[in-house]
Amino acid sequence: MIFSLAIYAAPYTSQASDSAYRFALALLENGHTLYRVFFYQDGVHTASSLNTPPQDEIHFTHNWQALAQQHNIDLIVCIAAALKRGLLNKQEASRYDKPAFNLAEGFEISGLGQLVDAAVISDRLITFGG
């Protein structure tokens, strides 16, 4: 079965962020496909390359990067939600004349259309947070 996840929750603030990651692991272990993870609302903070949790805590950014690389998963960050929260890639930083960008490698900034596309392509779209 093809799954996609929509994550609205910020990392570390609510359990939903961790539950989403664990759900992803479980579905992959059970032989399903994870087509896309769409980060919306505060979920976009997951994609910051500047996230620096203490060493004995979960590193969500690294975890998603590793999982995406291993299983060829789309990690999409909603552009409208990202820009207003200060999460920019190189292109957007230059467009808005900002001194830095912080989108972590493996994540991609795109529009809400990618959420609809995930709903259409996937058999199941599961929302975490909100």
Binding site: Y40, Q41, L112, V116, D117, V120, I121
Partner: protein, 124 residues
Amino acid sequence: MNQTPSKKILFISRHAPYGTSLAKDALDAVLSSSAYDQQLSLLFMDDGVFQLLKNQASGEIAHKSFSSLLPVLPLYEINSIYVHYESLKKRQITINELVLDSVQIIDSSAICSLLAQQDQLLSF
């Protein structure tokens, strides 16, 4: 976007218009989705029914008013709009107080069958 047969997608908006961004994010998601040729519908329930009230003076808190945002839905061809009857009743909101006049008021049992018809649910 791949050429897949269109799906039935229901957006469920369950939160008050201001205080959190959920209501606005739901509306943005619905409007963005309208460009993708899917069978979209929208359900307001729980505190989400407050979004439908007329004459919201949200300028005081520097927010766009849902009273003026929601009437754009038909322009985006979002015409299947449902409102949960029990949620209205519990909050003593009458149909005359709603900013949209083309909504369908449905009760809890009708919501069960509405949900069962969908391919995907997006809850906000």
